[in-house]
């Protein structure tokens, strides 16, 4: 019960923050998709990360005003560059420029951070963010800032959409189009800059693109696209946060994975549910065939691998063993089986001994009589011995497993291969 309330207390703020992020990013993502500059936001996010890194190297925290200032400066330069490249797009694809900006910004980040202690840690932090530890004041700040930008976009929605849709808006001077374009990138830059400090480059990128893609799969009309994008994005964030809590995973990365999962589900739903009956049936068949082919090829490769190198790692066999509970002992004699099982038991027991000694030493640090250096040395030497013995038991297990697999080589390998071949032939024949 208290674990539940702990979780809610801890996850409420990150969830609030991610709702705010989804609302603005999914909307901007729709623009990005229509402009066909998907990687522009990644480039801008990376430039913002570069700015934050320059600030960090100068001793400012990424969330401080100075940190934001640096990040915004770099992102604004990026926005200007992107605007400029749009006029150059007649000669070379804009994606090329975007790619160059991204790579150079990333390399520059590494160069800048090289001199700073724990720079690598900082680079990683900027990539994965720290949405879990977002503070209430930050969420309020994001909400206000994004609301203002959202309102401004609402007023300029027609020309902005026209610009995103066509590239060269009719009935406007080039200067006006250029200005509007820059205003778009600038607002975009401000959003990305402030989000990256908390959500990290990866999450910002996925929040921009994935919900917008999900929305666009199902509709062309902006209000519908936005509604679907927002619901899907928020749902995926909730799933990501809950999953990160339940499965004990880093939050930012779990949320990115949840977005990807959402996209996968949306894609499947689209081809299997939201199409005409005839098409739906055909898609279902394709999906089943693809799945069957994958499984059969895995079986074929695995059986061949078992026959070629029986003592090597056998991932598929290990998976089957662990899911069915049928261990490698099936192909061992009674004595060997006992040896295998007792080795497994002993390995666990020895590791338990190592942990028990660690606990004992740890307790003696602050209570009772302190252990002398020699007592600590003796404990360490016991532990090393137990570790060696564990390694020995593992070796016994590995050897017996290899023996079992060698015996299974033809008994399992040949039928596996025949089944896989027959299945594949049947699939090929049917088409």
């Amino acid at each position: 019960m208290s674990a539940m309330s702990d979780a809610l207390a801890l996850l409420a703020l990150p969830f609030a923050a991610s709702v705010v992020f989804v609302l603005i990013h999914a909307y901007l993502g729709v623009h990005v998709l229509r402009r066909r500059i998907v990687f522009a936001d990644l480039a801008l996010a990376q430039l913002s990360a570069l700015g934050a890194t320059v600030a960090f190297a100068n001793g400012y925290a990424p969330t401080s005003a100075a940190g934001f200032g640096y990040a915004l400066l770099f992102t604004t330069i990026g926005a200007a560059l992107l605007t400029l490249t749009r006029t150059l797009a007649r000669y070379v694809s804009q994606e090329a420029f975007v790619g160059i900006v991204y790579v150079v910004a990333t390399a520059a980040t590494i160069l800048v951070v090289d001199r700073a202690p724990q720079g690598a840690e900082h680079v990683k932090k900027i990539l994965i963010g720290s949405i879990l530890t977002v503070e209430p004041a930050d969420v309020a700040k994001f909400a206000t800032l994004y609301a203002v930008i959202g309102v401004l976009h609402w007023f300029a929605r027609r020309p902005l959409l026209a610009l995103s849709g066509e590239g060269a808006p009719a009935g406007r001077s080039r200067a006006a189009a250029w200005l509007l374009d820059f205003a778009f990138y600038l607002s975009f830059a401000i959003v990305v800059t402030s989000s990256v400090t908390t959500a990290g480059v990866l999450l910002v990128f996925s929040l921009l693109i994935v919900p917008a893609v999900i929305g666009s799969i199902f509709s062309d009309r902006l209000p519908v696209v936005l509604l679907i994008a927002w619901s899907a994005g928020i749902a995926a964030c909730a799933v990501g946060l809950a999953g990160s809590y339940a499965l004990d995973l880093p939050t930012g990365a779990a949320m990115v994975a949840a977005q990807a999962g959402g996209l996968l589900l949306a894609g499947l739903a689209k081809v299997l549910l939201f199409v005409a009956v005839e098409q739906r049936r055909r898609n279902l068949r394709i999906a089943i065939d693809a799945l069957a082919t994958t499984v059969l090829i895995a079986l074929l490769v695995s059986s061949a691998w078992l026959m070629i190198v029986p003592t090597g790692d056998q991932p598929l066999l290990a998976l089957v063993e662990s899911t069915t509970g049928i261990g490698p002992t099936r192909f061992l004699g009674v004595g060997e089986r006992d040896g295998y099982e007792s080795a497994a038991r002993d390995a666990v027991r020895f590791q338990g001994e190592v942990e028990r000694l660690n606990e004992m030493e740890k307790a003696a640090r602050y209570q009772g009589t302190p252990l002398s250096d020699d007592e600590v040395r003796r404990i360490a030497s016991y532990q090393k011995t137990f570790n060696e013995m564990t390694r020995g038991e593992r070796f016994v297990q590995e050897t017996l497993r290899g023996k079992a697999q060698t015996r299974a080589r033809w008994i399992v390998g040949v039928p596996g291969m025949l089944v896989a071949l027959a299945g594949l032939l049947w699939l090929a024949h049917r088409h």
């Binding site: 208290s2 674990a3 702990d6 979780a7 801890l10 996850l11 990150p14 202690p117 724990q118 690598a120 840690e121 900082h122 990683k124 932090k125 994965i128 720290s130 879990l132 530890t133 503070e135 946060l241 990160s244 809590y245 339940a246 499965l247 004990d248 995973l249 880093p250 939050t251 930012g252 990365a253 779990a254 020895f350 590791q351 190592v354 942990e355 660690n358 030493e361 740890k362 640090r365 602050y366 209570q367 302190p370 250096d373 020699d374 600590v376 040395r377 360490a380 532990q383 090393k384 137990f386 570790n387 564990t390």
Partner: protein
């Protein structure tokens, strides 16, 4: 009689050999070039070597030695080295790749000019499933932060003194005198530190990384949990919730945070538990005013005592 004569001959030969080695190895004017993996080991070498040595370190202060990426300049440092002092315990295997690159057999693991400073240390937290691989990211067999127990400085300086005497036998007296001077200053300071932290024996703390077992053992502190148990992997919400609930149950009195590490998670836990977050220097030079081995402890002890004292009734 025969034994006496033999002893005399051997003694004379040894002396001759020693002076020959001395003549060949180190010209009287040149200082011994020592390269230490970390600033902490460099600081200890400086105490023992005094002005007989020039000391360079490879890993900058406050950087995790395991995650450090060497620069081309480090090859130059190693080329000049008469002695390489390693952290050991598998935390600086990557230096082997550098040594192999310059092809100097003396500096290789177990070589005559390579010193593993962890030798003889009473090691803590030996773990199972240690992965020992060549060159790559190898996890150590024990917790590597042994320099954070001042008593371990006695052992490390003994090994360093031995190694330096081997390289510069003529300076033996000076080296031993340097070490004795350092040990007596250490002894006085240690009494002061123990006294300052004595009122807080048994105090529960939470640390960002598992950097403090040796420090905790010497000063009788109990670090009950770590905010980021795996270096570089952001803590999961479940883990943070668990740390917070364990912290409030155990009546934790402060959050110990290493300099240069991102502090948002530490601040969150400190805020939830309403306890101070203290930055302690995990290595020499990682915080202003911790420029040698003794001032590292002066700083850490004073900072911790102040933070804990502020809350005691």
């Amino acid at each position: 009689m025969r034994a006496g004569l033999l002893g005399l001959v051997i003694g004379a030969a040894a002396q001759l050999a020693a002076s020959l080695v001395f003549l060949l190895a180190v010209p009287a004017s040149a200082a011994v070039n020592v390269v230490a993996m970390t600033t902490d080991l460099a600081a200890l070498v400086r105490e023992v070597g005094g002005n007989l040595v020039t000391v360079e370190s490879i890993v900058p202060a406050g950087v995790d030695p395991e995650a450090f990426e060497p620069r081309p300049g480090d090859l130059g440092k190693l080329r000049r080295a008469d002695l390489l002092v390693r952290v050991g315990l598998g935390y600086d295997y990557w230096v082997d790749a550098l040594v192999r690159q310059i092809g100097d057999k003396r500096l290789m693991r177990g070589g005559e000019a390579s010193l593993d400073a962890s030798a003889g240390i009473p090691l803590l937290e030996i773990r199972g499933q240690s992965v020992m691989n060549e060159g790559g990211h190898a996890h150590g067999v024990a917790n590597p932060h042994y320099w954070l127990d001042p008593d371990n400085a006695i052992i490390v300086t003994a090994s360093v003194a031995d190694a330096l005497v081997r390289i510069a036998p003529a300076q033996r007296e000076q080296i031993l005198a340097n070490r004795a001077g350092f040990l007596s200053r250490l002894e006085t300071a240690r009494a002061r530190w123990s006294e300052a932290l004595a009122p807080f024996a048994g105090t529960k703390l939470i640390a960002y990384h598992n950097s403090w077992p040796y420090f905790a053992r010497r000063f009788r502190l109990d670090v009950i949990a770590f905010i980021e148990p795996k270096a570089g992997v952001a803590p999961s919400p479940a883990h943070l919730a668990q740390v917070i609930s364990a912290g409030s149950k155990a009546n934790v009195r402060a959050i110990v945070h290493e300099p240069y590490e991102p502090d948002d998670a530490s601040r969150l836990v400190a805020r939830r538990l309403s306890v101070p977050m203290v930055r302690l220097a995990v290595s020499v030079g990682s915080i202003e005013g911790t420029n040698d081995y003794l001032s590292l402890f002066d700083y850490n002890v004073a900072t911790l005592a102040k933070a804990l004292g502020a809350r005691s009734p």
